[in-house]
Symmetry: C2
Subunit: 371 residues, 2 copies
């Protein structure tokens, strides 16, 4: 249901209609099927209706979602990262209000770090958080590159936003994390007024156009502290580390899709005779899969994707050890994960560029045009 | 005048209006300035108002055109290749009618090899050429991926088309080359009736959208033999070899543009402090050009582009030797060119992919979006 929406999604892209994001046709319906069947809740805490499945089961599903439709997948990916950050760092009160709904996918989540002048260097971050009398905070600032900053799939969105408290220390030691809902949530769980969060614009990206990447404006928006004051970056890193591995997995998913497409084309496309002798005498030419250079490219694609998949499963194994053990065993798994996270992110995405490049070349001129 | 049209050209793209290609705003005007100033005629035969300049002077200009606006450049590039093929292989009569106008750029040229089922394997080519009573031929077939197959810059276009004569030998030994004008040319040089050449569609490419890549339909179109019967592939190779080197030069042009953009951005963009100590104490952060990994990427870009440029000038030198000498010296230059042509095409274009990839990374997230 998700893969057939991929090309359409990139062609239609996302639009801003009266300040709200409209996603491509079919994206919302596919999401509702997805959450109704429980896929969003695979890794969630069972106390909030999560399924508590091992990562070894979830990660191959995530890889397939990336292959099927990366634009569509990005929203659920960051919702899962939101679940993780709230599970580890949010107060009991916040968890009771938000967690079950983000785990089920009734609401989605976003990650707000980057500002126009603070990208790699979060010490320059200038979004402000002023305490309100009721224990909440007023958040004001602009964030850019916010994946799924808005969508038309669910009736609420949970934004996790980095901001500075008054008199916070300079640099990264003065950053706190806040939960800012798109719509306020009443005590009985029903939705209240719209919060002062708005979409400034949708970024014009080169690809994944079906996924809205937004400029977000927070203008005295009501937010709630997640974790300790001035310790927001550590909390966000819980989310970001999960997202980093998942970005690596995007590379793996794209590489696999490229390999599958190139292999199918190479078996069907007839050009020239095979150097080792005629393979399809009933045809005017042989499939290009018999050309040595095409075979080399396809086998390189396959070796890189299968090797990366093996590494992703090793990563999943250590994620499971970290999740289900304690003490030294858990600490060791933690170290391995910290080591492997940037390796997976960098290697899988670089690998995907190489594999997709081979894919385009196997298609010849047809790899450069759309049909 | 050409570079500022680049972004606009890719945004507007080309449209098919009543069967004719409409190019982006400003493209035609820039072309008229270009040909009025004689740039199209740099390499042409002086007997037909060409300037007969050395390749060593022309190739750096071509590189700059590629950097400025590749979409725009492609049309003039194939016009120059057309000039070369006609100069070497056309009859005196054809030269007298067509050559001066293609050299000046009053008319443009195209190269028609590929068919839906005959890409890398031209032996499968099926476009037909039937002799007419007057010595011309009736050309019928479909060609794809035709760069600048139509445009709204000039009042005529000279198509060079590969086709098979009746009873031609099978395979690549039965291919002939024909000149097929968009509009017939009267004896006095004025334009006559429209020939039976039409644009089937504009291909939907990933990039260079300002350049129309066309599906061309020839339906009993009147054509004239260029070179000997059944020796068309050798004639076309004159054109294609020139185009192959020029495609390499496209890579070099794009790589240089990427390097210049990345360098400018790295000097302006402030993020973090330089590891070797504060460089801009009056600012909140230092330019990213002081980050070692950014320097590594920029220097790699520069080394690859400058090295490639040196090779392009070596190529130009041998092109000049081949042009201005004879005997053994010319034969040796011919061999060197034959050896270097695929090296330049493959290396410069692969290099450009690598250099541009670094360029995107220097820009960070801004490398993935359009502003």
């Amino acid at each position: 249901e998700i893969a057939p929406l991929n090309q359409l999604g990139d062609e239609q892209g996302c639009r801003l209609v009266d300040g709200n994001v409209a996603t491509p046709d079919g994206f919302a319906a596919a999401y509702h099927t997805y959450i109704a069947n429980g896929w969003n809740a695979m890794l969630g805490d069972p106390n909030y209706d999560g399924q508590d499945l091992p990562y070894s089961m979830a990660i191959p599903v995530h890889e397939m979602l990336n292959s099927a439709n990366l634009s569509w997948r990005l929203t659920t990916m960051l919702t899962e990262s939101t679940v993780l950050a709230l599970t580890k760092h949010a107060s009991q009160a916040l968890k009771d209000i938000y967690l079950a709904k983000v785990i089920s996918g009734e609401w989605t989540g976003t990650m707000n770090l980057t500002e126009p002048h603070a990208g790699t260097d979060l010490s320059l971050l200038s979004t402000k958080a002023e305490p309100n009398d009721d224990g909440s905070y007023a958040i004001t600032g602009n964030k850019i590159f916010i994946t799924a900053g808005d969508q038309d799939w669910t009736n609420n969105i949970v934004h996790l936003v980095l901001a500075r408290l008054p008199n916070a220390p300079a640099g990264v030691k003065g950053i706190s994390l806040f939960l800012v809902p798109k719509f306020m949530v009443n005590a009985d769980g029903s939705l209240g007024a719209k919060n002062s969060v708005s979409v400034g614009s949708i970024e014009h990206k080169m690809g994944i156009k079906g996924s809205p990447t937004c400029v977000m404006n927070y203008d005295d928006a009501i937010g709630y502290l997640v974790g300790e004051e001035n310790a927001g970056l550590a909390c966000m890193f819980t989310m970001m580390n999960d997202a980093r591995f998942q970005v690596g997995l995007q590379g793996l998913g794209i590489a696999e899709a490229s390999y599958q497409g190139a292999l199918t084309y190479a078996v069907e496309r007839l050009q020239s005779r095979a150097p080792q002798g005629i393979q399809a005498p009933e045809q005017k030419a042989d499939p290009i899969v018999f050309q040595p250079d095409v075979r080399r490219m396809l086998l390189t694609q396959r070796a890189l994707t299968e090797g990366s998949r093996a590494l992703s499963m090793l990563y999943a194994k250590f994620m499971d050890i970290e999740k289900y053990t304690d003490g030294e065993e858990q600490a060791h798994a933690d170290h391995v994960i910290a080591y492997l996270t940037p390796v997976c992110k960098a290697f899988f995405t670089d690998m995907a560029t190489e594999v997709s490049n081979y894919g385009i070349q196997v298609y010849g001129g047809h790899g450069y045009i759309r049909e």
